[in-house]
Amino acid sequence: MVDDAVIRIAGNSQDGIQTIGGLLARLAGRTDQDVITYMTIPSTISGGPSIFQVRLGSGEILSPGDQADFLVAFYEHSYKSHIGFLREGGVCLYDSDEVKPDTSDKRFTFVPVPLTSATVEAVGGTAKDRGKNMFALGLLCSVFDLDRPRLVEIISRQFGGKDESILRNALLAFDAGYAYPLGDILDLAFQLKPATASGKTRVATDGNTAMALGLIAGGVRHGAGYPITPWSPIMEQLRVELPQYGGMFIQAEDELAAISIALGFSYAGHLAITGSAGPGLSLKMEALSWATMAEIPLIVINVQRGGPSTGLPTSVEQSDLMQAIYGSHGDCPRVVLAPKDVEDCFYIAIEAARIARKYSVPVIILSDQALSSRIEAFTEPDLAKVMVEPVLDLTPAPEDYKPYPLTGETKHAPPGTRMTGGFYPVVTGLEHDEMGHPTSNPDLHMKMTARRRNKLRRLEAELKTPDVYGDAQGEILLVGWGSTYGPIREAVSQLREKGLKLAAIHLRHLHPMAPGLEKVFDRYDHIFVVEMNDEGVYGQGQLATLLRSRFCNPKIRSICKTDGLTFKIREIIAGIDDFIAVTA
């Protein structure tokens, strides 16, 4: 029996390995096991090497795992590229029709299975080797002694509704894989410890889906976007989902039109969403400035990828933080949030909608490529508690209505509102007085600039200092943001087991940051900011730079990386080691 297992399935992107990875993840969610997945996809149009990694277990699973316990290699290149990722004593199950491994390497157990020919034999007909992913899933189901009836049920739901022969072939291949005699490999004890039943219903999905559904729960019914990897799945889902709720999502002709259409929705009284990846966010910057100036609420999702420019469209990076906070011209305060895991994508979208409405400001959510596509299982949200019903409020505005009051929150009167005082408002990107009239009065520009900034100060005052994970005081504090949450937490757990006193703090609110961080920082000797971006000219990553300028604290140092891959636990530990020996 093992606590958890990391399975890496390596093949080509058209082999459907993402599909079986998703099925495994969903099964884990159903059986109360914790799960996290990780995938790479080539940025080519069709084909190219691709992996899907699933980490299943009964404990708290926070990262996709540093090493694989089990490698499924579909091709020679899959074997060659990924055998190094297999832990010593791990199993390499390979397609003996395609792969010729070095079986003299005694660090691993090699298990040959003719995936291609066995699938052809099992499915027959014109399907050829399509379905070998399902065959492999059948094999994994028997090796790990997974809940077969539930898996079959999930497969049937996934492929049901399509052409009947597709489900039939999928199940034929799956059953053949399940029944394939694997000999004594089963003695290697890959059986997972049963998870403790939580008694709660769980769901498994990816970050982009969780985000799209969070927006709906937050009462967002309108949006516009332009396709770009890895943001597109959010717009695709909203395009299909929103009409059911009486809303719509528009595919625009470009990024500038996308944010403008979204601002049109918001101006019209329907809080809207637009999104993109880094390059598209750059294109939206001018309009974002307008949203700050005109005080129009808006949600902008940026699913970060490797940059600059076209960069690494299908790799992960956290290099858009500065752009999100400071990317526009002028003094342009806006809120920036970052979800820590897939579940949080759902809740942060709801929070973004709340903040945007309350303060009439644009809110940027920084997700990333890894978070967008990986699947996690989490407790199904209590919709009755979190659901927000949108209201288009056209109640006549009072006689003393001011679109931009110097005191109090901005509450726009959407078009269609009767203005009982007879004065109708113009929302504007020019500096303006309380009534929205253009002015370049120096005093007013100072007051209005402060007013726009003070919204973020009021938000800051609402925020709670994040809890630390680990020792309440000690030698080291790791600071993270976004999808590095899991590996940082696991690094803390591993080092605490070795007797080190350390903790981690994770920032979901990046602009403004929650208050009280300086007090937390005081309790540790070293502060390391872990982030997936470059250390820059002065040796600090983007969040570290912000924290240093905020707290003037030379204890703050950076652990950065720019390989386009998520942090491994050992990389974080090695990063600490570079400053102070922790692994001696």
Binding site: G29, R30, R157, T201, R202, V203, T209, L213, H222, A224, P243, Q244, Y245, G246, M248, I250, A252, E253, L256, A257, A258, S260, I261, A262, L263, G264, F265, S266, Y267, A268, H270, A272, W290, A294, E380, L383, M387, E389, P390, V391, L392, D393, L394, T395, A413, P414, P415, G416, T417, R418, M419, G422, Y424, P425, V426, V427, T428, G429, H437, P438
Partner: protein, 314 residues
């Protein structure tokens, strides 16, 4: 059914008819003699004639002299960024069928920085009216070449005379798929008002190009089309589809190739409606997507729909 709740007053007391006073806001910042004053006056007149309720007037503009328009109209308005008024208006139009949406802008907004948006709004046939106040020059930034500046026009960016072939607005608009395309002149107030009225009544993307002289940076630019300045104001005779003897010679506004041909006429060309057809609007298409999707979910509340979505991920 899951719909968006709208909080609005019950039938209120009858509203006083709109007059010029109620519609006037800030005094225009335009230079004395600017053609845009006449456009504003004409707009006020048409809005009053059509009896559009005050709160339903929504003017939207980008950047430029003419784009200051919303400040001068006492109505709901947006002064947006350069070139993007049309996409912003798209969001308003699609989500608020109760409003009357007017976009005002110049040749820079429409044909240069916002040229691509114009193409796509026309293609999508969005329900709104777009008035392009074309003065053939960048006025707000003080005399640079505009996309409609004629070859040879001397500006600060082309002191030796503009070189690039100017945009042909009528040809571009008709080719883009706009469903109502008309051309008028700010000095011909009655004709301008007639064009506005027809554009507003048109269901779909209606565009009116108004030749509106910049008396400071391109004086006399449109004299050739102004009888008071010794020019001519030749009107398009539209086909009446009656049996009258000369009707066959008149312009068929539903004929795309004839509209393009008309747009090719040498300066100053003709004035009136070049093209007018009815085509399903994007507004209607999106509403039918909503209707279909809602028919499928029946009476489910939004919470029930979302709960069902989550159930599929269990």
């Amino acid at each position: 059914m899951s719909t968006i709740t709208i909080k609005r007053p019950e039938a209120t007391e009858p509203v006083a008819k709109l007059d010029k006073k109620a519609l006037s806001a800030d005094h225009p910042t335009w230079c004395p003699g600017c053609g845009d004053f006449a456009v504003l006056a004409s707009f006020f007149k048409v809005v009053q004639n059509l009896g559009i309720p005050h709160e339903q007037i929504c003017t939207i503009a980008g950047i430029g002299c003419s784009s200051r328009f919303p400040y001068f109209v006492n109505g709901h308005g947006v002064h947006y960024i350069h070139g993007r008024a049309i996409p912003l208006a798209t969001g308003v139009s699609l989500s608020r069928p109760d409003l009357n949406i007017f976009v005002f802008g110049g040749d820079g907004d429409g044909f240069s920085i916002g040229g691509n948006h114009l193409e796509h709004a026309a293609r999508k046939n969005l329900n709104l009216t777009y008035v392009i106040m074309d003065n053939f020059v960048y006025g707000l930034t003080k005399k640079q070449t505009s996309p409609t500046s004629p070859v040879g026009f001397k500006s600060k960016t082309d002191p030796w005379g503009a070189q690039d072939e100017p945009v042909n607005p009528m040809r571009k608009l008709v080719a883009s798929g706009a469903t109502f395309v008309a051309r008028t002149h700010a000095a011909q107030v009655n004709h301008m008002s007639e064009m506005f009225e027809r554009a507003i009544k048109h269901p779909g993307f209606s565009v009116v190009e108004v030749l509106s002289e910049c008396v400071v940076f391109f004086k006399g630019s449109f004299d050739a089309a102004n009888p008071r300045k010794g020019g001519e104001f030749p009107l398009i005779t539209e086909k009446q589809w009656d049996e009258s003897p000369d009707d066959w010679k008149a312009h068929d506004t539903t004929d795309l190739s004839k509209a393009i041909k008309l747009a090719e006429e040498p300066w100053p060309g003709k004035f009136g409606v070049f093209y007018e057809v009815e085509r399903t609007t994007k507004n209607a298409n999106e509403q039918s997507l909503i209707a279909d999707a809602q028919a499928k979910v029946g009476n489910a509340s939004s919470q029930e729909i979302l709960a069902k979505r989550f159930a599929r991920m269990r």
